[in-house]
Symmetry: C2
Subunit: 206 residues, 2 copies
Amino acid sequence: MAAPGDAPERRGPGRPAGRRTGAPDTRRQILEAARTEFARSGYEGTSVRGIARSAGVDPALVHHYFGPKEHVFIAALDLPFDPDALVPELTTDGPDRMGERLARYFFALWEEPDIRPRMLAMLRTVLSGTPAAGLIKEFMTHEMIGRVVRELGVRDAALRANLCTAQLMGVAFTRYVLCLEPIASADPEVLTAEIAPTLQRYLQGA
Amino acid sequence: MAAPGDAPERRGPGRPAGRRTGAPDTRRQILEAARTEFARSGYEGTSVRGIARSAGVDPALVHHYFGPKEHVFIAALDLPFDPDALVPELTTDGPDRMGERLARYFFALWEEPDIRPRMLAMLRTVLSGTPAAGLIKEFMTHEMIGRVVRELGVRDAALRANLCTAQLMGVAFTRYVLCLEPIASADPEVLTAEIAPTLQRYLQGA
């Protein structure tokens, strides 16, 4: 399985290999403009062209540094994962063990010491009720849930994706935020075995 | 099924029928003392005797107004449910449909307009990281999870109870806090049918 930590390095063909190579001021300028534009117009209402205009650069430069809008968004909000990594991870080998793959991907992110603080930050943002919370929700709906849904091709697919989100958020809260015992100290393999069948049923329907 | 809203009225034999009858000042004094004592010593480390001493009243009076310590705690933190109502609700008719009963109890609480704001307040408290959050966690562990666990008599019962908590918290967050669609507008009956088998498997083990 691909390590989730690799995701930021394969964010699109136009992306330079190192995060801090190139012109850091231009990158920073674009990201600041992106945050402003996304906050003002929402995820769907924002375009790479609009971000470029706001940053005073050519749209081709935005694409050169970050790739498509989705990746500008991930970089601007410093999200710890990337649908380009998750969606194929889930769907490549057919539907049979999708629940297990999703559970493994989830724990691989959370159990990684470099990634966990960013997952926690994202979770707190989502719950903050600030404009950033709405943005992350909108992005999840369009780019994560929406894509999984299209791949699944089942009835009530959006609800199925929500049910998986609910199950995973609940595990994240009890284990990583509340540190409720014994779930907080349980072996991720044990928890994977418990929640994989749940995710599988939610994904495929009863 | 017992309406969860009834729970506060059957908090123990010593409890007077109306919440605002009796001596409101004495009640308030006891509740303030209880909040101080629970915050200082935790749930397990606090006694009715200690609360009475702190409030300057006889322990019998605390018991007269609230019943045992657990009910003093529920009143002091204004918790929207009572293990005395939940645990029998879950376990009375044997283990076969326990997952469904738990799901129904959960939605009966959350879908009740008078109770939902208090459920939300409790959820926010639990996530606040304040001393009250630790208290609610400790209470849930000892009085809710602990009691369900004893009734269940299965292996890894505490983990099973945690898994149910995780599932239900996740639904509460996505539906009532984040209002993620389509789960936020889904019929509670549809969601009960989805999550009841999950809760049943978590409660009984695979």
